[in-house]
Amino acid sequence: MTKTYTFYPGCSSEKKASAANLDISVQSMCHILDIRLNEIKDWNCCSASIGYAEGGELPRLALSARNLGLAQKQSHRKDVVATCAACWLALRETNDRLNEDAEIKAEMDEVLQAAHLTYDGSLRPRHLVEVLIEDIGWDTLKEKVKKPLTGLKIAGYVGCQTNRPFGVCGDSFENPTYLDKMIEICGATPVAFDKKVACCGGALAFSELEKVCGLIKDILQSAKDSGADLIVTPCPVCQLNVEVYQDKVNQMFGTRFKIPVVYYSQLFVAAWGGSWKQAALHQQIVPANVLKRFVR
């Protein structure tokens, strides 16, 4: 039976935006799992983890409150699913603040009124990864595997905001295991990767690229040292930073990294017998050629 969720894609998953490969592979993955994602109509940006400086508290929280208000108006469903770590975090943080802080809630009622919306705080922002684990279940995820990625060594890079502060399904903050389990289910081998929960620099890649390249270098070095053929991540910021700045890192540090960085959704689509295009693997910057022998 089709499972339907309200969906908040966020700016990076728009058509031809930086995480277009996430969106396309997520859509393919959900198609295979018979999940329907109903996009919130007319959603706005959540301002990610940098909105605080210019937006301040109430305007920043209002961004996600509007999205939640729209979701509530457009559907009776309680779950709002996000695929971007920062989007999910912003929705959850806002939702928590509205439920815990009566003053903010009262102010937000007034703020939302200006957009002819209301929001009562009762929706449940969820990450798509939680939906896969809790609603679909490991067994089903495993049953779908048609092309096990046997012999591939993969570094599961969880990063920050898919993991902290909320965590996924009660998994550990310091050593979460769900991503390694996903890699295993796909038939590949998760390597011991000591930068599993390290930070890629996030939005500061836009302002402090040199400092951030130091962080990215350490992540790539750790993946290389662990013998990984590729890196897999659930986060669009991690994916972008660690993939697109590899040349910069190589320039800065005299290294020669060329490690593909793909999304968990791309990995699943590949292992479930999807095509190169359905997995959006044609949209990689560092080509994920190691997957070629498994994917049509």
């Binding site: 400086a53 508290e57 836009f206 402090e208």
Partner: protein, 195 residues
């Protein structure tokens, strides 16, 4: 030495999540958690201590808060449960409000450009955002930066992950309401600050 408590009180009452700072027990776990640690002039722990000691100028003018990468390491580790990430963000914002934050601080400048890009149409236009960022120090410098980053930009374009949309003119349908909402939120914050 007598501590000037007025700054601490101001932070507790007016900076986002600032009241939590009272709860800090100075263990230093947060200080060891920041990925850009060496670039922090004062660690979160030190900032909180300085606030309690009334060092207003040193705190507000510090670049430290702008080194936060929002990794949330500190927040899940703090034995006192302080929402440190949000406190640090709150202090950065507080420094902006108090007109002490350097306008040319690169992350502050980026945050402003991003917010304007987002507010103009309701969503981010990535090409307009990066172009504006390059040009922030004038066109010659912008062209130089653009050249330095051209490989990255070209690879994004080629892989279909950067839309040719330098002007970013599209608007969400409810944009008027969206703008009115943000205006209202700013008014409420302004009123609170004045009272």
């Amino acid at each position: 030495m007598a501590y000037d408590l007025s700054f601490a009180k101001d932070v507790y009452e007016n900076a986002e999540e600032g009241h939590w700072i009272k709860m800090c027990m100075q263990c230093g776990v947060c200080a060891g958690s920041c990925p850009l640690g060496p670039h922090w002039e004062f660690s979160p722990r030190q900032l909180f201590q300085m606030i309690r000691a009334g060092k207003a100028e040193e705190v507000l003018k510090s670049e430290s808060m702008w080194m936060c990468v929002s990794c949330y390491h500190c927040m899940v580790r703090c034995p006192r449960g302080l929402p440190i990430t949000h406190i640090v963000h709150g202090l950065a914002r507080f420094a902006v409000e108090k007109k002490r934050a350097d306008k040319d601080q690169v992350t502050r400048r980026f945050a402003k450009i991003l917010w304007e890009n987002m507010e103009r149409g309701g969503r981010i236009g990535e090409m307009a955002l990066t172009t504006k960022l390059y040009m922030v120090n004038g066109i010659p410098d912008g062209v130089k930066k653009g050249m330095e980053m051209k490989d990255q930009a070209m690879s994004m374009l080629k892989s279909g992950r950067l839309k040719m949309d330098p002007l970013h003119l599209s608007r969400i349908r409810g944009h008027a309401g969206f703008k009115a909402m943000l205006k209202k939120a700013r008014e409420i914050e302004q009123k609170k600050r004045e009272s």
